[in-house]
């Protein structure tokens, strides 16, 4: 070793030494920085284009519309005269999504608590992975499962709910079926479960150990510890998780389009076949639409885009506010 050192040093000395005037890749730096900045700008351009083209291509249909776009429950854009409105789509979309949220949030929070504070440590990772797998199943498969399996089961459930809980307005009505708003909401709830529970879980994991111990040392049971330390810390995280889940549910297309037996008109009875949503309406009627029909669908998609945008930005704002506080 030692005997080689002088030789190696001598050899190294023969190589050219760097000088300050040497090129240090300035041109490369400029090109690379430009490329990466350009990519970022492309994203901005795409977002701008989405807004511009949706508005532009929606305008012709809106001009032709002989009905009130906001309040009409009809969807007949290719008729003469063209008549269409989004009222029933707004109703169906909100109804399915909100019902889905009401079902999914408590379960998702339960799952997050299970994985962070109840499950055996060694199994927790595997269990979290299983719940995440729910998110890997594509929506078309949920649709297929919903249509061919869940719908048949739900027919009986609807009948049961209607006969015993018919006094609840939503469960009332004279007809029941399987391809209902309730079934669609259940499928949506399953689909948004993993995202809500994953975000909630992430927040629960961050609960400082000191707060958990503070509660336990006071003689709190596990549940009391969760109520004193975990839930207050995780509140804003849960809110934003629920809102992101809502955003997902509002825009979900195929599963809802397959499960619902779409009918026109607003009906509060969620055990009855029927209902429609923005996304399902687009998927179901696109293939048969003429030029005005396509333009009308674009107009409805624009409304959906704006609604989901507001929900998502709201969710991010909640997260951002939380960051400021902690």
């Amino acid at each position: 070793m030692t005997s080689e050192t002088p030789a190696a040093l001598a050899k190294a000395a023969e190589r050219p030494r760097p000088a300050l005037s040497m090129s240090t890749g300035r041109a490369g730096d400029r090109i690379f920085a430009g490329l990466s900045r350009g990519s970022g700008l492309v994203i901005l351009a795409i977002m701008a284009a989405i807004a511009v083209f949706l508005v532009w291509k929606a305008i012709p249909a809106l001009q032709d519309d002989k009905a009130n776009f906001l309040t009409s429950q009809e969807w007949n854009p290719d008729g003469a005269p063209a008549k269409f409105g989004i009222a029933q789509l707004v109703f169906g979309t909100l109804m399915t999504s909100v019902l889905a949220l009401v079902m999914a949030v408590p379960v998702a929070v339960g799952i997050a608590l299970f994985i962070t504070y109840y499950a055996p440590r060694r199994l927790a990772g595997v269990m979290a992975y299983l719940v995440d797998l729910l998110a890997a199943v594509p929506s078309i498969v949920y649709g297929l499962w919903g249509l061919n399996f869940l719908v048949t089961k739900m027919t009986g459930v609807s009948g049961f709910l209607n006969s015993y809980f018919g006094w609840i307005p939503l469960f009332g009505g004279s007809e029941t079926g399987g391809r209902t708003i309730l079934t669609a909401a259940i499928v949506l709830a399953i689909m948004i479960l993993p995202i809500i529970s994953a975000i909630t879980r992430e927040v629960f994991v961050q609960v400082p150990h000191a707060h958990v111990e503070a509660a336990l040392a006071l003689g709190a049971t596990r549940w009391e510890m969760i109520r004193m330390s975990v839930l207050p810390f995780g509140r804003s995280g849960m809110v934003s998780a629920a809102m992101l889940g809502l955003g997902r549910a509002l825009g979900e297309t195929i599963a809802v389009a397959m499960v619902l037996s779409t009918t026109a008109g607003i009906d509060w009875h969620i055990l009855k076949d029927g209902g429609n949503t923005f996304a399902a309406n687009i998927a179901n009627t696109f293939a048969m639409s003429g030029p005005t029909g396509r333009s009308a669908l674009i107009a409805s998609g624009l409304v959906l885009f704006v609604i989901t945008l507001l929900v998502n930005v709201g969710a991010r704002a909640v997260v951002a506010r939380r960051k400021e506080f902690s």
Partner: protein, 297 residues
């Protein structure tokens, strides 16, 4: 101190009410987990058991060309080809764009105004409903530019869905690269772009690859945007740049809307193929992340 009239404290138990609440919470939490697993098992089981009926050589090597949906036989070859091409094109566009954007956000923007704007819109992009991305490509590519339905149009709409995932996954990984590693390179006089290309990116590569695979698995199952952009065909079309093309999700959709048993069986088999592809990608992504996890090196 005035004395607190506590019952002579026995260590054996807390009050029955508190215990009951604690137990109820435990039952609820376990039930919640079970409630998530039931649909997972049910979905996988129905897909496997129903899909197995037509999961055969004919299904994997034949298209639906010339067959009516009530006919037996036929397959999803045209759809598999379409899906692979569309997803491949999507990755080809989204990966460089997404990785470069992430590099800009982490290495160049450093909380500047443009960086924050881009970051905000990446978040917004994450929330775009898939059908809206399809509508956009419809409005822009098909209606405004007058192009025809094609696999490439489908890839464009999938790109909008995949881009934000790639940006975020890459960003996470780049942030994990230790700062002293970069400083070590700078100290040697290595220019920034070379540092990023040959020090930062290779370090973050396994994480990025695994993130990209998950993103591909995600868009592979998207149906809604494809309905509006590739349309539906029963024939094999290997050219993604012209004419309607098949895809697995639209194949399932098309077959399942027909209440005929032969068609429904094909839909299930298509779902099985799709799930297998997605699970394979998921597993591969996990494997990459696991093999190259920091402790394994």
């Amino acid at each position: 101190m005035t004395s607190l009239s506590t019952k002579s404290s026995s260590l054996s138990s807390v009050s029955a009410g508190r215990k009951a609440k604690d137990r109820a919470a435990k039952v609820f939490v376990y039930a919640a987990f079970a409630l998530a697993i039931i649909p997972l098992v049910s979905v996988l089981w129905t897909v496997i058991s129903n899909g197995a009926k037509r999961f055969d050589g004919v299904f994997l090597t034949h298209s639906m060309n010339g067959l009516a949906s009530k006919d037996a036989g036929g397959g999803a070859y045209h759809a598999i080809i379409g899906t692979l091409e569309q997803v491949g094109l999507t990755a080809l566009i989204s990966v460089p764009l997404g990785v470069l954007t992430a590099i800009y956000l982490v290495e160049y923007a450093r909380g500047g105004r443009l960086g924050r704007t881009i970051s905000f819109f990446v978040d917004v992009m994450t929330g775009i409903p898939s059908i809206v991305s399809g509508l956009f490509v419809l409005a822009f590519w098909l209606l405004a530019l007058g192009m025809d339905f094609s696999g490439f149009a489908g890839a464009l709409s999938l790109t909008i869905l995949m881009l934000p995932t790639v940006v975020r996954a890459t960003e996470e990984m780049l942030k994990l690269v230790p700062g002293d590693l970069k400083e070590a390179a700078y100290a040697l006089g290595v220019p920034r772009w070379r540092t990023i290309m040959f020090v930062v990116l290779p370090t973050a590569l396994p994480g990025i690859v695994s993130g990209v695979m998950l993103a591909v698995a995600r868009v592979m199952g998207e149906t809604a945007p494809l309905l509006l952009t590739i349309f539906i065909t029963k024939a094999i079309n290997t050219d993604p740049f012209s004419g309607a093309q098949g895809s697995l999700p639209t194949f399932i959709w098309d077959q399942s809307t027909d209440p005929n048993a032969n068609a429904v069986d094909r839909a299930w088999a298509g779902a099985l193929v799709l799930i297998l592809l997605i699970m394979l990608l998921n597993l591969a992504a996990r494997l990459v992340a696991w093999l190259r996890r920091p402790s394994a090196r």
